[in-house]
């Protein structure tokens, strides 16, 4: 089975976001970069599928600037066999990134299944997975909680209010993982050493048939949230506090 997993490198969740000089992007100086947490579930799912199907390979793909090689190596250390890095600008939008990754996938001889995270925690747009599938020309299912792989693939997809859709489609398809789909493994030291020697193919935009015109949206005028004014502290014993809080919510904030 030819298994693929698409990942994105993002700032660590603890990052304090600062803006660049013209507020067109964040200031990336000093940012610690990690694999987007939802992608770890995608990598793990790909590896488990490989382990159940001897002879399979898992290829990890990522689009972004030179730094994303570190996250590709992380996935290789978890157990992926080889990597593909498609070099695109930091500021590329979901459409360009997806088209670049789809272009890389279409260069492969045969794709059985593609995994990804249900969204990346940087722009949180939740678009790239669906767009990769669209440009490769395969069905997709997002926010997957588990999948059974048989003659068709049956996926439990999380929707609102704790409900699930029971989705079914034949391979090839793309599955975008939700947190909790599995328990991602930690890379062990020997694997980390081995990962350094695994092959990572570097592709440029022209190699995968994309250009600047594939960028459909652009961010501008970024703003940090205005500092909040100090709130009211409500004093007294618990009964008094509760009473006063309900009064303020009703009369002042008018939200209940």
């Amino acid at each position: 089975m030819n298994i693929y997993v698409c990942i994105k490198q993002v700032p660590d969740t603890e990052t304090k976001i600062k803006l660049n000089a013209d507020s067109s992007w964040i200031d990336t100086a000093g940012v610690k970069w990690i694999m987007s947490p939802f992608d770890e579930f995608a990598v793990e799912e790909a590896l488990r599928l490989k382990e159940k199907n001897p002879g399979s390979t898992v290829t990890v793909l990522s689009a972004g600037p030179a730094r994303v090689i570190d996250s590709i190596r992380t996935a290789l250390a978890m157990g992926c066999d080889s990597g593909v890095h498609v070099e695109i600008a930091e500021t590329a939008d979901n459409n360009l990134a997806a088209k670049a990754l789809a272009g890389a996938l279409k260069k492969e001889a045969h794709v059985d299944i593609v995994f990804s995270g249900k969204e990346a925690i940087d722009d949180g747009a939740a678009q790239t997975s669906q767009l990769i599938a669209e440009y490769v020309g395969i069905p997709y299912v997002t926010v997957a909680l588990n999948a059974e792989y048989g003659s068709t693939v049956k996926v439990k997809r999380e929707i609102e209010g704790g409900a699930f859709e029971l989705f079914e489609a034949p391979m090839p398809l793309l599955i975008a993982a939700q947190k909790g789909m599995n328990e991602p493994r930690y890379a062990k030291l020997p694997e980390i050493m081995k990962a350094k020697k695994k092959e990572v193919k570097l592709l440029k935009m022209a190699d995968v048939g994309v250009s600047e015109t594939d960028q459909k949206i652009r961010y501008r005028n970024l703003q940090l949230p205005p500092p909040k004014q100090a709130g009211k502290k409500i004093a007294g014993d618990p009964a008094t506090q509760a009473k006063e809080l309900v009064r303020l919510l009703h009369e002042e904030a008018k939200v209940v």
Binding site: G124, E134, N221, G231, K233, V246, V255
Partner: protein
């Protein structure tokens, strides 16, 4: 004035209030406002779409649309959009909208601004802003492609309009081609909880590590049920096994924007604040007066949550019964 198409969303025979938010915002700006309504046995919902601002409702009814699939829905929607050439296409950033709209945008050869929290109409165009880095910053979205401007909007971001039963939409029956579909949704399994989803609720009551156990969340559930609220949780509470991941609010969980967010025993890690700081009113109940959650709280209660929450429940009950 813009020609605006809104993708209407419904579940269990009821329209989502997030759909009304989009229709209301479009109608209030004086736009030519259309709704697209897909499903099986749903045509009756067109009336309510009209009351909430749709002038025309485009309906497709088919067994293949009984349950949402991106494949069938995107196919039908793209056909309708290509036929009617709107200026603006809007959907809600719900589990359905977020799954569906990137694919629709790609087929229209345009970009999509997803999860917008601000939306304004300017002539035939829209101006939108969306949170990035889970709300640690926001960005205006510039549309670079020619063609309809498309956006998904976060539920609760615009506010629900006042329905007017004098407004009647004209209904247009559209058709779709459902041959050769590869995917299907065989069933939708309901959640065990009758409470609203954290992302759609007007009020969210959330608990953190200080809840100390899964059982202790019962006091938050009781409070939530009086308010018709959802119950949320911090990553610490979810990682401790007190709540399922679907309830997690924060950068690696869900980003919420309710009218009222009540944080109980949540210290306010940066990744949690990212997920709830756009809430209209924030209440923090925490024993530690230095907890970072108080920096974003409109109302702070420094106290033992196990004493305050039950008292709060009684006070809200009095208010409701009043």
């Amino acid at each position: 004035m813009a020609k605006v198409f809104v993708i209407a969303e419904h579940r269990d025979g009821r329209l989502k209030k997030a759909t009304f938010e989009l229709l209301g915002a479009s109608a209030a700006a004086g736009n030519e406002t259309h709704a697209i309504l897909l499903g099986e046995g749903v045509a009756g919902l067109a009336t309510e779409l009209g009351h909430n601002g749709a002038q025309t409702v485009h309906v497709v009814e088919n067994a293949a649309l009984k349950f949402y699939t991106s494949e069938a829905y995107s196919k039908v929607i793209v056909e309708i959009l290509k036929k009617h050439t709107p200026d603006v296409v809007l959907a809600s950033h719900t589990p359905t909208g977020r799954d569906l709209m990137p694919c629709v945008a790609a087929r229209m050869n345009v970009g999509l601004a997803s999860d917008c929290t601000q939306l304004a109409f300017e002539g035939a165009k829209i101006k939108v802003r969306r949170p990035v880095y889970s709300g640690k910053a926001t960005a205006e979205v510039e549309f670079l492609a020619s063609g309809p401007q498309m956006a998904t909007v976060r539920p609760n971001a615009l506010g629900v309009p006042k329905a007017d039963s004098a407004r009647i939409a004209s209904v247009v029956a559209e058709t779709g081609n459902f041959a050769g579909l590869l995917t299907q949704v065989t069933d939708v399994v309901k959640g065990s909880s009758a409470r609203p989803d954290v992302t759609e609720a007007s009020i969210v009551v959330s608990g953190g590590r200080s809840m100390k156990s899964a059982e202790n969340f019962k006091i938050l559930e009781e409070l939530a049920d009086i308010l018709g609220a959802a119950v949320g949780a911090s990553r610490a509470a979810v990682d401790s096994g007190y709540r399922p991941h679907r309830d997690q609010v924060g950068q690696t969980g869900k980003v919420v924007s309710p009218l009222l967010y009540i944080a109980c025993g949540i210290s306010g890690a940066i990744q949690h604040l990212a997920g709830m700081r756009t809430s209209k009113t924030i209440v923090a109940i925490n024993q530690d007066p230095d907890a970072p959650i108080f920096q974003v709280a409109d109302y702070g209660v420094v106290a033992d949550l196990f004493a305050v929450v039950p008292a709060l429940k009684d006070e809200f009950k009095k208010l409701k019964d009043h």
